[in-house]
Amino acid sequence: MAFARFPKSFLKNNFKLLLLQVFNGFGWTLSGRKERCLNTAKRLYGSDVDNQDQMQTGVRNAVAHRTRNASSGGSVALTDALQIISVSDPGRVRGHNEDCVESRPDIGVVVLADGMGGYNAGEVASGMATSSIASGLARAWTKARIGKLSREDAAALSQSILQEQVSIANRAIYDTAQKDPQCAGMGTTLVVCVYYDNFLTVGHIGDSRLYRMRNDALEQLTRDHSLLQEQIDSGLITKEDARQSHNKNLVTRALGIDPEVEAEIHTYDVVEGDIYLLCSDGLNDMIEDEEIQMTMIALRTNLDLTAQQLVQAANDAGGRDNVSVMLVNVLKSFPVERGFWAKVKSLFA
């Protein structure tokens, strides 16, 4: 009976890993550290990092925004097609929240980041990532640039713009980490979705995930960039055994650690009725996919409650990490009309 040996290349490449992001000694006045990090970040990158409602320390904050209906001419407005719910919670063990979520319903963008490193720099990194990418996309992903493109070209452009914005955010976080010793070694995971013309382009780095619920089946669309996932892929450990592993929470890719980083980017077709779930590992480490699925099926008519229930379930299971959940409900399809009639219509719009 042939049986796969431990792949040597895997061990060679991955075993002698250095654990880089160790915590820099003892944090003192936590707010002081964060303040300084933020100030540096602001100095360097403008006030984008300023308006982060997730950046409170030690405060249990659950933010839920709901998309407002706003009409714009031509095709179905994204704000009418997508219902977006975000909840971010520090969990039950951590004093503060290093996760950050941001959404731009008007351009169909949702971003979630899970910061790490240092005592407070983690939330600086995740805050910089979400605000930099959300505002960067708002500048780059404009009607003027995409309005005339075919669906395929728009999808291709969304991928390249996403990669570009990820690089910009990575550079910003990396530079801040280099310049400010308080922020040294900070980094963040990322998952970002851009919805347009019945497709979504997702970019991710690290172990924050995107799931899709379609026809009551939950499917994980992103594959973690983590040591455990690499072990699963190489056949060293089965998915079932992975729950028992001691090597959780080790990501192999993160934003802000190296001068360059590549996001994994894919485009998927979106169907009316889909519900997308973006989450930090605080959710999927604490509760099984089956429970996530069950909750989403049982409570799908009330997405605010679904999001709260998911966070609550993670907390009831121990809540050992920050928990962030974003739900994107596709209320109707959002095709972009093209061609002659679209032009005529837009004249009268």
Binding site: A4, L20, F23, R92, Q231, I237, T301, D316
Partner: protein
Amino acid sequence: MAKLILSVDGTVLKEISLAKERTTLGRKPHNDIQVDNLAVSGEHAAIITILNDSFIEDLNSTNGTLVNGKPIKKHFLQNNDVIEIGKHKLKYFNDTPVQNAAADFERTMIIRKPSAAAPMAAPASPPPPSGAALSDTLTNMRPMAATPAVPPPAPSAAVPAVAPPAAAPAAAAAPTAGAVREAAIQVLSGAAAGRTLDLTKNLTTIGKPGVQVAVITRRPNGFFITHVEGTLFPTINGATLGGQAQQLNDHDLIEIAGVKMEFFFKP
């Protein structure tokens, strides 16, 4: 750090710490663990350790390797596993808690290849600085971890819906909600009158979809009811349920979508 205790016929021969990436076991002297017995192959097995996880692989030995009495080719070692090679036994100890590690252990961290980094530390050095103090005596980590082993107090007592952070460890100790008393609802009116529904799942929805639906959640500190959909909210003992979850007490009367039902704890 994980370790193996080598014994034969109940006599402990030696203790081996799994500090290396690859620890070999066999009859020949170049093995890290040499077992000089003819039942043992020259190169019998190898133990691969990656950070805190260890795997054993049989290297096509003549007489095979057993773990907990079963022949294996490759096996992900768990605490207290017993490896048998001929008459020799190796017991595997790894006290690193899987989930209950001190909070710092749980933090997401980035790892990368040594080429990109500065000096090489000992291969399996534990991640956070606190690990240095903890590595020898991992068993002593429990008191430091935020999760005491004691089960939470009887959940039927009135517990605030949102436990303050200080009360969190109790919840953490009961991840499966095993300590919650069993409960059920009995339908009192309507077509299904007399029927009983056991609340065995973490979420149970009741009512009429599209008209009025509520959900009963089973949590470590009891059962809670929350309104899900519909313009009318259900009533509990005649009082209308608010937007928030409400804890259910024994013999509470729920009215939803025109149907009355009673919540009760099972004896």
